[in-house]
């Protein structure tokens, strides 16, 4: 172990450390809403949290949805289980957009607040995971990304968000959003902490048939980088270009490539993810997972419909659209076509990745205020995912990390590698961290 995990253990948290940590977190959480619940299951280890769509035995798990209010899983997600076995200390479940449906972290009854400025969004859907990491000195968060839910909040909250190659981390115990897209990843304050935790949670799992047995390649940071020119636009462009100049000064060669149709990744992603979400949400019938409907004398359809009124409006929108794109009359036009677009873009991105890694801005805009984000229509919100969706759609490993600050708010970039190049992209960020110091407004739990 290296980084802050090693530092934490060398400093030896004394008597009462975890009680003080819990009390401080509860006080701050009343303002920032990073956690849906703060529950210390054990003490003595490095603190970690889990996004509220990861099952933790005996701890309420709701995915920030009213339909799961009161659901207490009888088992641990594999990633959680593996950290508990290595004596990490579980501290709580983090806030999120309901079932992961959101770019800004606002689709929750009590949205998390950005620790840099509470009037600004946190990003989503792993909003609470990014906020908890930004405020805590010693902590790693287990988060989940489907289309950018780790990169977006990491960018807006100024922390390091890692999304591994699809299949490297078991999805067992994750409340599914889109099965072919969901990845469990890590949000932390440094790439070295992330690399250490990744080594503990990755690996095949008999309980998840999509977990892969292949290990990530052992590799160093690649010196050849490519910017996708179609993704270089918007408010963050000038900041990103200055960042590229800094990288050139550090010895990196940066080229520009064109990836035709890359913008269509957004439509393909939303079609596939909504189709998968609309079937996954059908399991919440109102009598098996916590939320206890009364009126068992009703017919099944009436009962089921009543239970589903507890979904939020974005979940309902995605059920309607996901059901629509799977309809037999339009399935080939939308769903089948979207999966062909995924194959095409995976092939095109992989060709560039044979020559080096890809580096792009994480978000096309600077952090918006909450009220600005609330006024955006659905299509405008979906378009904000233009940079985070391509690596997610194609299952490519990527890390979002801070590279600058504008008006006191952090700005993030993403480094993307080929399948199983997880170590290489983490190494790149570790190299970057030798020259750039991240800023944080809080250090809760400092020793």
């Amino acid at each position: 172990m290296s980084g802050s995990i090693e530092e934490f253990h060398s400093k030896k948290a004394g008597d009462g450390y975890y009680e003080r940590l819990e009390a401080e977190l509860k006080k701050l959480n009343a303002e920032l809403h990073a956690f849906n619940n703060i529950t210390l299951l054990n003490t003595g280890g490095y603190p970690f949290s889990a996004k509220d769509n990861l099952c933790v035995e005996g701890v309420e798990t709701t995915a920030s949805s009213r339909i799961l209010k009161g659901y207490v899983p009888p088992f641990n997600a594999t990633a959680v289980e593996r950290l508990l076995k290595r004596k990490f200390t579980f501290i709580g479940k983090t806030n999120m957009d309901e079932f992961g449906f959101g770019t800004f972290g606002l689709n929750s009854d009590e949205p998390a607040r950005n620790p840099f400025n509470r009037e600004y969004v946190t990003g989503g859907s792993s909003s609470g995971a990014a906020v908890a990491t930004s405020v805590m000195k010693y902590h790693v968060a287990l988060a989940v990304s489907t289309g950018g839910s780790i990169s977006a909040p990491s960018s807006f909250c100024g922390v390091v968000g890692f999304t591994p190659t699809y299949g490297l981390v078991s999805r067992y115990g994750l409340l599914d959003y889109g099965n072919s897209l969901d990845k469990i990843g890590i949000i932390s304050r440094s790439a070295s902490d992330t690399a250490n935790v990744f080594d503990l949670i990755r690996g095949p799992d008999d309980k998840d048939s999509t977990s892969v047995s292949e290990a990530p390649k052992k590799e160093k940071a690649k010196k050849n980088l490519f910017v996708i020119k179609e993704l270089l636009k918007g408010e963050t462009q000038s900041y990103f270009e200055r960042f590229c100049d800094k990288l050139r000064g550090l010895g990196y060669a940066i080229g520009e490539v064109s990836v035709p149709d890359i913008e269509k990744a957004v439509q393909a992603y939303y079609i596939i993810s909504m189709a998968e979400a609309s079937t996954n949400l059908a399991k919440y019938t109102g009598f098996k997972y916590g939320y206890k409907n009364s009126g068992f004398e009703k017919g099944y359809n009436e009962f089921f419909t009543e239970a589903r009124s507890n979904f939020g409006v974005e979940a309902k929108r995605r059920i309607v659209l996901g059901t629509f794109v799977r309809s037999s009359s339009v399935r080939s036009k939308y769903y089948d076509k979207a999966m062909k677009v995924r194959a095409l873009l995976t092939s095109r991105l992989s060709k560039t990745l044979e020559k080096g890694n890809i580096i792009i801005p994480a978000m096309p805009i600077l952090t918006p205020k909450i009220e600005e984000a609330r006024q955006m229509d659905s299509v405008s919100v979906y378009k904000m995912d233009i940079s985070t969706i391509p690596p997610n759609l194609c299952g490519l490993p990527h890390v979002c990390f801070p590279y600058d600050y504008a008006g006191g708010m952090p700005i993030g970039a993403q480094i993307i590698g080929s399948h199983f190049s997880d170590n290489g992209v983490l190494e790149f960020v570790q190299e970057w961290e030798k020259t750039f110091k991240y800023k944080f407004k809080y250090d809760v739990g400092a020793l």
Binding site: G58, G70, V72, P74, F75, Y166, G167, S180, L181, D206, S209, S213, E214, D261, K264, Q267, Y270, I271, S278, T285, F287, K288, Y289, G290, F296, E297, K298, Y300, N301, E302, F303, T305, R308, S309, V313, K316, R317, I319, V320, L321, T323, F324, V325, K333, Y334, K337, M339, K340, V341, R342, A343, L344, T346, S347, V379, L393, C394, G395, L396, H419
Partner: protein
């Protein structure tokens, strides 16, 4: 999308929308579907559907029955009667 088709879709989804939810979803559904229509402009040639982003052969495990360690925890999320989960009429 016409009103009738929208209503039919909502009914198939087994959803009951409040007036506000209906207005929210109805107002931008056409924009979203028009946006989705743009995937048809992509020339995907002879590409096959990628059902998963990482295509590889994986071994499937043999099915075997193993005891679940926390049956009481499992049932605590439901209403039960004589060890059966109670549900609505089918």
């Amino acid at each position: 999308m016409e009103e009738r088709e929208f209503d039919r879709l909502v009914a198939i989804c087994r959803l009951k929308l409040s007036a506000k939810e209906r207005e929210d979803i109805r107002k931008d559904i056409d924009d979203i579907i028009s946006y989705f229509d743009e995937v048809s402009k992509v020339d995907t040639g002879r590409e096959k559907e990628a059902y998963h982003p990482v295509e590889m052969q994986e071994k499937l495990r043999e099915d075997k029955v193993v005891p679940f360690g926390n049956v009481q925890g499992l049932l605590s999320n439901t209403k039960t009667y004589r060890f059966y989960v109670v549900g609505p009429k089918v």
